[in-house]
């Protein structure tokens, strides 16, 4: 029984005979390729996708409403759990917004530490993403294990400074929770120096691999106009050739001081999204090298900042950063009480997921898996 609004492919041939039956299948929510609990309602003509409806909300945890009922500090550990691959950038986005709301300055050393943490997060997120994405194409296990091996080194660094591998809960309003040791900086420097070599090896597996080229080039193309009008951000936007990076546009924190380039794609297909991420990692290494070289000594917390009884004056603020997945924004309204009046997250992977159908129409069902992998979603952030 074809769905009512199926009009994409003709139902009958020119002579009036039916071409074939449509099949509606439900892919997920517990499907190994959906990166979490995410469901796609697919209408298939043979193997070709004619309609796709993303269904999410299985991981909804009421994050925004909880945050409106606890103190400003209390939602900091909850932001770790949004995009659980990149807790450091989530912390930073939230801290940045509250600092904007309360007008808190951040000491120089804390700014440098934040940049180092955010770029390390970007490295590990993109490395893992590429591992997952090639796993979706059938490279089962091996590249993902290499990615996880390298990610573990970065998580070790996070653990030794913040106490937890993934749920770091490290940034505070007006600085970071604790200082990094010179020993830690030396370890980070060693990791950054060795990471380029790993990326070379990692790229040797994929960048010119025939299977990857055949599966990705010209698949899941997003035209420039659609990308802009659907407010897609992050590597997906830049893969379509739009030069927009919040680190360059806003220069939040101290990003204005670093010399780095923004990788831009041309075709907006999956291969460009892959290459944008690889090149972005190499640019992140450049930023890290500059930050680790220039980091000054000094305090890491603003003396005026306080943990308990934090009450920003009434007002509103929107703070945004370039998270590994795109523009991560927090919108807060304060009414002068200890908890926010309104708390809203602009999650990049949720908004990037809205164009899934446009990318998948006309492709095979096996391509939808790869296309979904290239969007880089984390369901903790999509569903909140």
């Amino acid at each position: 029984m074809p769905p009512k609004n199926y009009e994409i492919l003709p139902k009958t041939s020119e002579t009036g005979e039916p071409i074939g039956e449509l099949l509606e299948i439900s892919m997920g929510p517990h499907h190994p390729s959906t990166h979490g609990v995410f469901r796609m309602d697919l209408v298939l003509d043979g193997e070709t996708v004619v309609k796709l409806k993303p269904v999410f909300g299985y991981l909804h945890r009421n994050h925004e409403k909880i945050a409106e009922n606890i103190s400003y500090l209390g939602s900091m550990p909850y932001t770790d759990r949004l995009d659980y691959f990149c807790s450091m950038t989530n912390n930073w986005a939230y801290a940045l917004t509250v600092e904007k709301l309360a007008g808190l300055p951040v000491p120089e050393r804390a700014e440098y530490i934040r940049v180092i943490m955010a770029e390390l997060t970007r490295l590990q997120n993109h490395t893992c993403l590429i591992g997952f994405f090639v796993q979706d194409m059938g490279a089962l296990g091996t590249p993902l294990m290499y990615a996880f091996r390298e990610r573990e080194k970065i998580l070790d660094l996070f653990e030794s400074v913040s106490g937890a591998r993934m749920m770091c809960n490290y940034m505070r309003f007006g600085g970071v929770r604790c200082d990094v040791t010179p020993d830690w900086l030396a370890q980070a420097k060693q990791l950054v120096d060795g990471y380029g070599k790993f990326l070379d090896e990692f790229e040797a597996l994929f960048t010119e691999n025939e299977i990857l080229l055949a599966r990705t080039q010209g698949v899941g193309v997003l035209p420039r106009e659609l990308v802009v009008s659907a407010s897609i951000t992050g590597p997906m936007l830049r893969a379509a050739g739009v030069n927009y990076d919040v680190r360059k546009v806003d220069k939040y924190g101290i990003y204005g001081r670093f010399d780095f380039k923004v990788p831009l794609g041309e075709h907006g297909d999956i291969y460009d999204r892959y290459m944008v991420r690889v090149l972005e990692m190499r640019e992140s290494l450049k930023i890290l090298q500059q930050a680790l070289r220039d980091i000054p000594s000094g305090p890491v917390m603003d003396p005026k900042a306080k943990l308990r009884g934090f009450r920003p004056k009434a007002g509103e603020a929107y703070g945004r950063i370039e998270a590994p997945k795109g523009e991560l924004g927090f919108y807060l309204i304060s009414d002068g009480s200890p908890n926010p009046f309104r708390y809203r997250v602009r999650p990049p992977s949720f908004i990037n997921l809205t164009v899934l159908e446009d990318m998948c129409l006309g492709h095979r069902i096996s391509d939808t898996v790869v296309i979904l992998g290239s969007v880089d979603i984390v369901l903790g952030e999509v569903d909140r």
Partner: protein, 208 residues
């Protein structure tokens, strides 16, 4: 704005030219990693838990515990039942009932103590906010993580006798932090003693 443009390196290549050399190249990488894992520690990073264990990092945090000084946990408990951690805990996993009577703390001052102090560690999310807000250095994070139990209600609700751990334990798991805390507390104690001495001396002054 500096940008870096990606070229489709192979967009001009015909399919017939793609004969699979790059697949062989990729296999060389996997072979290097496979044989390398026998000789290089860099490429073999797994540990055979539980026979082999990594030493936990110094800052590692798992679940909170209550610190006590001395040998008797009931006498030496630092917690004064101020309930700040209970109020600040984001998932609200701490439950405190204040005592009716008072007991002396490390400075000799009479303070309340918790008649009940429960932490439901099945709810706790190890965020360390209780530790940060505690003004008395009474609650700290433990590194113990093997806490599985077959009783999911009572077995994961820790009361104060199970939560109390000695200051020696704290010094062992977080040596740097513990040293700073000990120094701070010793300073406070010395200040309190000096004040008490001054207070004791003041009434004598007019007489002299």
């Amino acid at each position: 704005m500096g940008t870096l443009n990606i070229e489709h390196r192979t967009s001009n290549i015909e399919w017939t030219e793609m004969l699979g050399e790059q697949i062989i190249k990729g296999m060389a990488v996997t072979a290097r990693n496979f044989f390398g894992s026998y000789v290089s520690k860099e490429r073999l990073t797994t540990v055979q838990y539980p026979e082999e264990r990594l030493t936990p990092k110094e800052n590692t945090r798992q679940f909170p515990f209550l610190v006590y000084d001395g040998d008797d946990w009931e006498k030496g408990m630092r917690c004064v039942a101020c309930q700040i951690c209970e109020k600040e805990c984001p998932p609200q996993c701490i439950y405190i009932v204040k005592s009716k009577d008072k007991k002396p703390d490390y400075k000799g001052q009479l303070q309340l103590y918790p008649a009940t102090f429960d932490i439901d560690i099945s709810v706790c999310m190890s965020c360390q906010i209780c530790v940060e807000v505690c003004p008395f250095d009474a609650i700290k994070m433990d590194t113990e993580f093997e806490l599985s139990t077959d009783d999911r209600f009572g077995g994961l609700l820790f009361s104060k006798d199970k939560l109390s751990k000695s200051n020696e334990h704290y010094r062992r798991i977080h040596p740097t932090d513990a040293a700073a805390v000990d120094e701070h507390l010793a300073g406070e104690k010395a200040k309190a003693e000096a004040k008490a001495k001054a207070a004791a001396a003041t009434p004598a002054n007019p007489a002299a």
